[in-house]
């Protein structure tokens, strides 16, 4: 049986301009050879930082962007050649405040999209009722969307994306900006979709979310997939090794770069925490980089230094902060 969603060496380049008077045309490669396949009933996660190319990839799969090269298929059909056929069978939900008619009620929004997605007139009322119940908006459906909280809007988005009961659903950062309790509710709804047999592609930049929900994860950074597998596979990649965290107060980029040159160091990242920054250094198993790291940070005002075992979060950070290889340009 062919995969339900298939990306084959997808590339997408955008043209943009710089300058005001002396304009220069630039080409930005947002996606650079992304390939993956999602099987029926699978919840697949595209995980990566902002600007990694997740949304661009999803927009090619849902027919909104034409790939610069490569091919994408949904339920065996090409998304460029058979765009209309594909659109009838997919649902698309994105995160954030936008994508709704604010001056209208949730009911007005859902009725309009039910019409656009060809929900039979006799079935519309019941279907909208079911979905309002599923996302917990029953009783609030006649209120204008402009008065909704971010979490309510997001739930309305999900209801809209499911109106025509599509077998394949694309969720683009659905929990972004939603408070922790709301996000947990949304994750429960997303898990429910998988249990109902839907094939789901979820993009997120929250590691724990991908870990909790996804059967498989592809980590995307700078337009490329840098790792793919089950959450367990990704954890195994970093189960050995050591992480050193050093609290610093004001560190120059040059110093951070110099840490990457230490033998056995696999990744270096800097995180802001309150007044200080924390330099997180990961090293291979059997290495103890603390001494070398501190030597290279000579002259920098230091705070607490701790050593610990790596977590899944570290695996993710290591993957997305690795320096691009020269061939990638």
């Amino acid at each position: 049986m062919p995969p339900v969603v298939e990306a084959i060496d997808l590339h997408r380049t955008y043209r943009t301009t710089t300058g005001t008077f002396r304009r220069r045309s630039l080409e930005v490669e947002a996606v650079r050879g992304v390939s993956f396949a999602i099987e029926e009933g699978e919840l697949f996660g595209l995980l990566g930082p902002n600007g990694a190319g997740k949304t661009t990839t999803i927009k090619m799969l849902i027919t909104l962007l034409i790939p610069t090269s490569g091919q994408a298929r949904v339920l065996g059909r090409d998304v460029v050649e058979d765009a209309r056929w594909v659109r009838e069978r997919i649902g698309y939900v994105f995160g954030g405040d936008r994508g709704l008619y604010e001056r209208l009620s949730a009911l007005d929004n859902l009725r309009y999209f039910a019409e656009l997605y060809g929900v039979e007139p006799g079935r519309q009322r019941a279907r909208i009722g079911e979905l309002l119940e599923l996302v917990g908006l029953q009783g609030r459906e006649k209120e204008r969307v402009e008065g909704y909280s971010r979490g309510m809007r997001q739930r309305l988005h999900i209801a809209r994306g499911l109106l025509h009961d599509p077998p394949v659903i694309f969720l683009d950062e659905p929990t972004i900006g939603v408070d922790p309790v709301g996000a947990r509710e949304l994750r429960k709804t997303i898990f429910g979709l998988k249990e109902a047999g839907k094939t789901v592609l979820l993009t997120t930049h929250y590691m724990f979310e991908a870990d909790a929900l996804c059967d498989r994860i592809a980590v995307v950074t700078r337009g490329k997939i840098v790792a793919e597998g089950t959450p367990r596979d990704l954890k195994d990649q970093v189960s050995d090794g050591v992480v050193v965290e050093i609290e610093v107060y004001g560190i120059e980029n040059g110093k951070v770069e110099s840490l990457r040159g230490i033998d056995g160091v696999t990744s270096v990242a800097v995180e802001d925490r309150d007044q200080a920054q924390v330099v997180v250094v990961q090293a291979e198993v059997g290495r103890e980089p603390t001494h070398d790291v501190l030597a290279r940070l000579d002259g920098v005002s230091l705070g607490r230094v701790t050593t610990r075992e790596p977590t899944l979060e570290d695996a993710y950070v290591a993957l997305v902060t690795e320096e691009p290889v020269a061939a990638d340009g």
Binding site: R84, Y92, Y101, E115, L116
Partner: protein, 270 residues
């Protein structure tokens, strides 16, 4: 049975198109009626148009000219509402983040776009009625309504054909983010070229072929003829015919325009 299936499918498909058009029209009209900015314009425009017409023509010939100008000013509201709002409507869909959702819906995009522009010209209808009332009661212009039925048809033909013209404009707004400026740019020249305030006979000869290609020219002619007692049916037919031509061209180029927007990635950019 086998022969009946395509026919049944066609009927189902036509019903679906009609429902999408109807629901879209109602939704956009509702949204515009809830906008306080659009509401304010709705109050100001008729006042503005009726005053211009009255002041211009009172100083001149008066009498029949005032009637001529009052009907012209009334149609100006429909045209201004459509030309300036058609572009901003697409821009608004971009800001709302709904444009991508509409484009990715499994219906022909024309059925999404057309109700938006027709709803706008229908909003202009309010401006038309208000302009006529202001002309009549504030400025005392004695407006004739000799053929009320033809007058009604002429108004509907004008609204629909201007809506179709707005549709043609909106097609370009889907692809080019800055095209809304084109709508604003066209607002005033069409006032002149379509003969809203000045008879076409006063315009240079080379302008006339352009006027003939504009549906509002025939729409306003039809309204004046029906009001004054002449036959308005040829002009009504011409306005509707031109509206149909605009629609055909718009639908024909829409898929190409959308493919270009999907290649350029311009649907999501605000």
């Amino acid at each position: 049975m086998a022969e009946g299936e395509p026919a049944a499918e066609r009927t189902r498909s036509s019903r679906r198109v009609a429902r999408v058009l109807g629901r879209g029209f109602a939704l956009h009209l509702k949204m515009m009626m809830r906008s306080s900015f659009d509401g304010l314009l709705g109050v100001l425009w008729p006042l503005f148009f009726a005053t211009i017409a009255f002041l211009m023509f009172r100083a001149g010939a008066g009498g029949e000219s005032l009637v001529f100008a009052s009907f012209g000013a009334a149609v100006m509201g429909i045209w201004s509402s459509t030309s300036t709002s058609a572009g901003s409507a697409m821009q608004r869909e971009r800001w709302h983040g709904t444009l991508e959702l509409l484009v990715s819906a499994p219906v022909h995009f024309a059925t999404v776009l057309l109700p938006v522009t027709v709803a706008m010209s229908a909003m202009g209808l309010y401006s038309m009625v208000a302009t006529l009332l202001i002309s009549r009661f504030a400025f005392g212009v004695d407006l004739p309504f000799e053929h009320p039925v033809a007058f009604g048809f002429a108004v509907v033909a004008t609204v629909v054909s201007i809506g179709a013209m707005g549709f043609l404009l909106a097609v370009s707004f889907v692809r080019y983010r800055t095209a809304w400026a084109l709508g604003n740019l066209l607002e005033y020249p069409v006032w002149l070229i379509a003969g809203f305030l000045v008879p076409l006979t006063l315009l240079p000869g080379w302008v006339r072929p352009i006027s003939w290609l504009l549906a509002p020219t025939w729409g306003v002619d039809a309204i004046r003829d029906a009001a004054s007692g002449s036959s308005a049916w040829p002009e009504i037919a011409l306005a509707l015919g031109l509206g149909a031509v605009y629609l055909t061209i718009g639908i024909a180029v829409l898929e190409t325009v959308l493919a270009s927007a999907r290649r350029a990635g311009s649907l999501a950019l605000a």
